[in-house]
Every structure is written in structure tokens, then in C-alpha cells.
Point group: C2
Chain length 528, copies 2
């Protein structure tokens, strides 16, 4: 582990928790001092750890989460602790020689060291990284040599489903600093990506035949994860702030078990920030209203938040970290007094999707069920990826550097968003296209007034016209996503028409050219 | 990609497949020439690939696999292709600008390069690696710069469920060289570990309420993956060569649907080589007999083979590669004329468990169902781990170097096995302990004649005596695994008593000490 940075004592939590009734909140600058007070981080092969080892005292001043066993599936209720992992408790006996587990010896792992070159704040660009980046070194036996708390010997062996302690610590602290959940017994577990976490959540909370609640337009793959499990979707109508809580209340209050052939839904899947595909971001007020409806109907909220840090507020110069955190719209987790929120966290949009490392935050009871599942399926995210992320996030950047990276990233995405919106303003025929500039995420959602399409008079369906416009755009050299791809509710008829454009990948020149091609396709299609 | 090694033309497949009725089998030395003939490997972001791109012409001289849709679960039959991934086919249009997918731009991936230090054959030991190992370098834009076929830009972005083409190519070639499946339309897909592949296999082939077949003692976690899904296990009696095909036939032929309350099992899970926990290895004859019973009852065989290369035959000096391959007991895959075998492959015991990268080999029809599931759950193994493995296995070692590594590894495990067996011979009271030296794997399985335990006269149960011996050993400073932990069939009563010792991790001195402690515990327990 790199040495703690100089302490800012005023920002540090507490020195003697028994003497202080309300400890200070954990802050970025308070982390090193708090770490010094804690017990040593577990560093052995597949060493067990959990977020309670890393949460600061203020967490324990809060009430416990409610119990949600009545929401667990038969599959989840049936899960028991792993027999072989349970036997590992004897390993603590001093002097014991284990011929018990089937862990290979690290002398047969053919990796002696791993080096990664990464940006040094504030030089975050690829050019700056090439010139002035830092090479981080992970050796095979850094722990033994006292150089680090995580090394190749550990990363390359079997691990715990919760992830390696040093990275679990980082995400636990990050969660506390950003969200400060309002109940005490929250936990984190790493996952091999949040798509997998969502698949597991469905199996944990739902039975075949259930309905779940989703935004009326949502990430197509999230719905496609549910369908083969025999789970159907009720789409909740949305406005420019995303899902409408009163409409959700209405759906649930009037749920007709016989007509639907299914019990009332008890799981809401939502992407609250920079929603995919609509780009909508729920305001704090909207989230509170949604949470109240969730309480009224005893819902589990699955909060899928890959775009949370791609919120596009104006840049604050100087030390922007505390301002940045304050500027973020509060998460469902941060208002979850009951412990009914399962927050799916992802590094995919802010570090890289290919690492396949994410994490979940939820109550201890719920996280325990996830972990029991992971132990006999995914086991844990790749140790090589965990090690690379730990070296970058914890040892190199620390919380402060990571937040600087996120601030830098959202400035880049703001510029990209602006390019796309400018291109739309410049090229698109406003008489048939409408959009709201997104406040977060990667997507612009464009509504097409398809009733003005000449095909309507000739009896063409909405779907056929959407297909025509899509293919006309493709033939003109631009690929957009069709709105109908994102409609998960198969019980209702689609009345509107949308196209989704992302500003995540193409350059601003290409974005301008692409939108101009789309405009041309629309003009041709609509005879403008 | 590193330059092809000099060609041994006699070993190369064919130059013009139409003119040669029976092409030569693919060999280690034939790979570079065969690669040169093939179309260029796909290198784009999330580029699609499949094993057909990499299989040599001889594969297509064989008949196709049978169809097994009648064995698929309702969940698996319901899976459709991902909507968003299907749209990717338009990306091939020249000049098209995509604003369709939500792939982040690689300029926001904060890794500029990744270096790993690895062994240079034949210096495989950690000492040799430290002194004379090779540092392999992966840059962000190696593909663009013409240096490699896989780089950080690709590895860090979203990928295909089948894995990155360059690593999929390696495992496809490896599969063909080692197993040469006897039907033409076999495929491989990478997986994030074989535990996850097994979890997926259960969901792919089974319904709640089903029974599956397993060895009467088996890997505890494999059974614990099945139980929460509502799947029960019939244990098949074993001898020192593992499961007994005639007993399996008997169980299936006499299956009583009413008495069992379940349809006849149609999935066999087996660990054919160095079985966990018994260490048993099925001979070629045994495997053929098992396969025949599988054909008779139309079973799917899940062949879980982490220990396949830990077969302990005598070392052959000189260029041992062809001899090594010939010396291996044939896999079920290699005799699978029907395409009813699903082979789960793992790097955990031969490279490192922490990479969480494995692969599956099966017929195209079955692999396609796995891939549809992976697309909406695990997505793909970590790109960082795939890149590290690709650099090591493909660019650095190549097939020949990897086989040398495996030969070296099995010599090490042979020495470890010998240490354990010698310690058993030296210390254990033969009047109450019996074992067969294992021919593969990591485990020695010791049967205890518990009827000679003084507790029997006092009315102690088998289970209580097992517990007494286990705790007595733990108190004496040695941890072994209890046989009962590995019994997955809960419908039958356990009559024998076993303990499992692994020789994978401890040094030979520690192994000797541990077994001497176990001997002491047994003597005390049995009053010897």
C-alpha cells in the first residue's frame, strides 16, 4: 500500500468512538486517517472480508435495514453456505497444515509481475498519459515483501465472491463518501459486471410467471435477461424526467391478478440517471416520489447506475471534489431508509467495460444471498482485473484522484453531448423531430412525429414507417437505434416513434456528419 | 502477432483442400502454416468470431453432430438473439457512421499499456522466471500499429460472449490438436470460469425437479450449484477407475418415475480424470463403456476436466510433445460421435484460477445456447485476463511452449503426489486405512475402516465417528476434507468413510508432517 497522504486532522472521523455521540461523515480526505485506526486488511489467499471492516463509525449510528426474505425466490431461499468454504474456518488454527482445500500453489502461476501505465492526475488524456503517465508495478509477492496489500500471488489464486479485500475496501469507502446509506447494515460485493448482477437479481427475487416493473423504454438487454426466465415486463410511462411515480402507483393499485395471470410486481428496475435509451434523469424530488410508491407497495428497487457520474453540471475550477459530490443528484441508495434498494454499480462507462468488474450495494441480508449464488457460479471477478483496478484506483489515484478523473470525464461527455445537440439543432427538421438535451449519460432520444409521414395515408403501420426511416438512414450512411428495440412491455401497443443517438464514441466531426445524414434521410422519407 | 516459426512443411495440413480427399490432422508444428492460409483474424471492437474460422480442413470431413433440442430447458429454448447485438451487422456497411451502440471511446480507458513478466521455456520455475523471464508488452493501439492482433483498446471495451478472436483461436486449435472431435460442427466459447459454465449448463438442460447423475462422491460445489435450482442427484457407484457404467445403466433402466417423482435423468456430470475427491481416473475402456450407456439412454455428458493435464505418466526426455499428447487418456470429447458431450475446460489448475477464464467445447447447437445466455449475463471473461493469457499462450509460448509447460507441470505434480503417497506409506496404520495412489489430479482418497473404531461398540454412528476423527486431526494440527462433504446423493445412506488429502499446495516437508499428524490422530482414535 502506498503511504497515507498527510492527514487533515479536522476532516478525520473520530479518535475514540465511545466518547463521540455522532461521528463525522467519512470524507475523501478523512480516508487515510480512518484506515490507520482500523484492523489490518486481510491479505491471505481467498481471505474473507466484508464492508463492515471498512465502514466508518457514523454508519453504526443508523437503524438497521428491514428484512425482505418474503421477496426472495425459492431458488434463493434454498441456497446454503458452501461446505468447502465453511471448512476454511479451521485455517485460523495456529500451526495447522492444510491438506484440505484444492488451491494450487502460486509457484505454478506463470506471471512474475504485472505493470500497467496509467494517467497521472491531472494529465488524464491519452497524450498526457503516454508522456507523463505512471507505471504501476504489481509483483508476485508484494504482500510478503511488505510493499502492498494485494499482489499477483493472491490475485491469481481462488478468491472470495465478495472480491479481494483491498478493492472491496475502496468501493465501500467510495459508496460511503458518495451515498452515505441511511441504514447501518449495508454491504458491498464485487461482481463480474452489472449485467451479471442483474441476471442474478432476477433469479434472487423472481419466479417464472412474475411481472417486473421497468421504464416504458429501457435497456433492451436488461429486458432480454428477464424474458427467458419467464418474467414479463410492465412498462411505466415516462416524461422527460423518466418514470412517473403516480402512473406506477396506478398500475400497482389496480393490479388484476386474474387478468394478468400473475401476482402483483414487487421488483422495479430503473436507470435513474441518463436513462438508456431516453437520456432522462430523475430529479431528487422525482426519486423521493418513486421511493414512496415503492414503500407503499413494498417494492425492491434495482437501481442500475452506469451513467451516474456522467451528470453534466457546469465545471467548478479549483478543488472541485466536495462541490462535485454535492452537485450529483442523490441516488435511491442515499434515501433508502428501509434497505429495499439494490444498487448496481459499474466501472464500464467510467473506467472500462472490458474489465468486467462492478459491484452491488444493498442490505446485508440481500448481499448475503447474492454472495451465496456467486460462490457456486461466477465465483469472483477476474483477479487480474481486480489487481489492475486496485493499483489504479486505490494505490495510485486514491479517492481524490478518482473523483478528479470522474470530473474530467463528465466534462468530456458534456462536450460530446453539446456536439450532438448542436448537430441536431443545425440539421434536423424540427417540424417532425423533437428532443430534450440530456442532462446525463450518453444518449439523445429523438421523437419523430410519424403521423406526418406520407406513408400513413397509404395505410402504412407505425412499425413499417420506423423500419423505412431506419433503413433509409442506414443506406444514407448512419446507424441509429430504433426506439421499438427498447420497449420491454409486450402487452401494450407502441404509439410513439423514437430514435436513439449516442455521443459516446464518434468524434464531433463524425457526429455532425452522421446527424446531417439522418436529417437527409428524414427529409427524403417525409418529402420535406 | 509474433512471426510464424519456420514451417515444417510435411506437417502442414493442405494447400488446396478441394484436391485432397483426407487432409492431415492439425499438429502443433502445423499451426503457423495453417494460420497463414486462413482469412485474417477479426480485430475490431467486439468483433464476432467462432471456431469455424480456425478449425482445419480435416474437421469438415466428418459428419455433423446430432440435434439435442429435446434436452434443452424451457429457459434455454426461450432465449433469443440480442436485439442490440443483431443490429451490429449493419456496421459492416462501408463508410457508415454509427451512433447506434453505447460503446465508450477508448480514449477514456485509463490504461496505456500492460506488461507481464512470464517464464521463457524451458525455464519454468519462479527462480528462472525472475532471472530469465520475458516481459510481454501490450499497448493500447497495437492492432492499429500492426504489432499484434489483440490490444488494450479492444480488450478494455465490450466484447463478444465467445471471447476475443485471438484467444478463441488458440483454444480452438488446442482443442483440435488434443481432442480432434469426431464430428464436424463443434465450437468453443470462452467462459468466465468453468464453475459458471456448469451453473449455466444446469439452467440450459434441466428443469426444477429433475435428477442429474453424478459420481457417488463428487466436487461438493458442483452439487451445491445444482441444489438451489431444485435439482437432485443420483450418485453412481464407483471403483478405483471412477463411475461404474453398468451401475449407471441399471439406475437408468430401472428408473421409477412415480417413486422418484421425477423424469429419468438425462444429464451426467463427471470428472473423468483425477476425479475430485477420489483421485480416480477413468481408463479409455471405461470411458467407452460410459459413452455407450450415455448413448443407450440419450444422456448429455458434462465432462468437467480441470485435471486432464495433471496425468502422471513417466517423463519422456527430448521433444516430448507428440509423445505427451499420445500418452493422455482420451477424453469423452474425442470419442463423441454424437455431439452429446459438453467439455468444460479450465485454466485454473494449469495456469491460474484467479484469471477466471475457461472455455467450453460442444456442438454448435449447444454452444449457441450457452452464448445466448452469456450475452445477457456474464457477457464475456475479463478482457484484461484474456489479453494476459493471449500474450502468454499464443504470442509467447505458442502451442509447443504451452505443452512444454504442461509437461513440466505434471512432473511437478508427480513429485508432489509421490511425496504424499510416501508419507502415507511411512506413517498411516494400514490396518485401518486404505488408498490407491492417484494417477492424475491433486487428491489422495483414503478409506477408513470405521467398523474397527472403539466407538462402534458404544453405539456411535458412522457420522459421529467421522466427526471425531476429523476434529481429532484438526486438534492435532492437520486439516483434511471429510468424505461426507462430497456425497451429493441425499436419497442413499453413506456406508463407507473417506478422507481426502491434497498434495497441491503444501511442501513435501509439510506434507510428511501433516500425514504423520493424521496418523497420530487415527492411532489415538482407534486405540492403536
Amino acid at each position: 500500500m502506498s503511504p497515507p497522504t498527510p492527514l487533515d486532522v479536522n476532516l478525520v472521523g473520530v479518535t475514540d468512538t465511545s466518547a463521540v455521540p455522532i461521528p463525522d461523515p467519512l470524507t475523501v480526505n478523512g480516508v487515510p486517517a480512518w484506515r490507520e485506526k482500523m484492523a489490518k486488511i486481510p491479505t491471505g489467499v481467498a481471505a474473507a472480508s466484508n464492508s463492515d471492516m471498512f465502514k466508518s463509525p457514523i454508519c453504526y449510528t443508523k437503524p438497521k435495514a428491514k428484512q425482505f426474505e418474503h421477496r426472495f425466490s425459492l431458488e434463493s431461499k434454498s441456497r446454503k453456505a458452501s461446505t468447502l468454504k465453511t471448512a476454511a474456518r479451521y485455517l485460523k488454527n495456529p500451526g495447522l497444515i492444510s491438506l484440505g482445500g484444492g488451491l494450487p500453489s502460486s509457484e505454478y502461476f506463470p506471471f512474475e509481475h504485472l505493470d500497467i501505465k496509467v494517467p497521472t492526475a491531472p494529465g488524464f488524456s491519452p497524450e498526457a498519459t503516454r508522456k507523463s503517465g505512471t507505471v504501476l508495478h504489481a509483483g508476485k509477492h508484494d504482500i510478503q515483501e511488505g510493499i502492498s496489500t494485494y499482489d499477483l500471488e493472491i490475485a491469481l489464486n481462488y478468491g472470495q465472491a465478495t472480491g479481494a479485500a483491498p478493492l472491496l475496501r475502496f468501493v465501500t469507502e467510495h459508496t460511503e463518501i458518495i451515498h452515505s446509506p441511511p441504514y447501518s447494515d449495508w454491504q458491498c460485493t464485487l461482481t463480474p459486471g452489472s449485467t451479471y448482477a442483474w441476471d442474478t437479481a432476477l433469479r434472487l427475487f423472481c419466479e417464472r410467471g412474475d411481472y417486473i416493473l421497468m421504464e416504458e423504454y429501457t435497456f433492451a438487454s436488461a429486458a432480454e435477461t428477464a424474458f427467458p426466465l419467464g418474467i414479463k415486463v410492465v412498462g411505466i410511462p415516462m416524461d422527460e424526467q423518466g418514470l412517473l411515480p403516480d402512473r406506477m402507483d396506478e398500475i400497482l393499485s389496480n393490479w388484476d391478478v386474474d387478468a394478468r395471470g400473475a401476482r402483483k410486481p414487487h421488483v422495479l428496475y430503473t436507470i435513474p440517471t441518463g436513462q438508456n435509451p431516453t437520456g432522462a434523469t430523475q430529479s431528487a424530488e422525482r426519486r423521493h416520489a418513486v421511493y414512496e410508491v415503492a414503500q407503499k407497495h413494498d417494492l425492491i428497487i434495482i437501481e442500475d447506475e452506469p451513467y451516474y457520474f456522467l451528470q453534466m453540471q457546469p465545471y467548478t475550477s479549483g478543488d472541485a471534489t466536495p462541490e462535485f459530490i454535492k452537485s450529483l443528484v442523490p441516488s435511491f441508495l442515499s434515501m433508502d431508509t428501509d434497505g429495499r434498494v439494490v444498487r448496481l454499480e459499474s466501472f464500464s462507462k467510467v473506467i472500462s467495460p472490458g474489465s468486467r468488474v462492478g459491484w452491488i450495494v444493498a442490505s446485508e441480508q440481500i448481499i448475503e444471498r447474492f454472495v451465496r449464488n456467486f460462490e457456486v457460479s461466477s465465483q469472483n471477478p477476474s483477479g487480474i482485473a481486480q489487481l489492475a483496478l486496485f493499483k489504479l484506483l486505490d494505490e495510485h489515484w486514491g479517492h481524490s484522484g478518482y473523483l478528479d478523473w470522474l470530473i474530467n470525464l463528465r466534462m468530456s461527455y458534456t462536450a460530446r453531448r453539446d456536439s450532438l445537440v448542436h448537430a441536431c439543432e443545425k440539421h434536423l427538421p424540427r417540424e417532425i423531430v423533437h428532443w430534450e438535451a440530456p442532462a446525463a449519460g450518453m444518449f439523445n432520444w429523438m421523437e419523430i412525429d410519424w403521423h406526418k409521414h406520407p406513408g400513413v395515408a397509404a395505410g402504412k403501420t407505425r412499425a413499417a414507417i420506423e423500419e423505412d426511416i431506419f433503413l433509409s438512414a442506414v443506406n444514407g450512411g448512419v446507424l441509429l437505434s430504433r426506439g421499438s428495440w427498447f420497449k420491454p412491455d409486450h402487452d401494450t401497443v407502441e404509439e410513439k416513434m423514437f430514435f436513439r443517438a449516442t455521443f459516446a464514441a464518434a468524434s464531433s466531426e463524425k457526429i455532425d456528419e452522421a446527424i446531417s445524414r439522418f436529417a437527409e434521410a428524414l427529409r427524403t422519407q417525409f418529402g420535406l
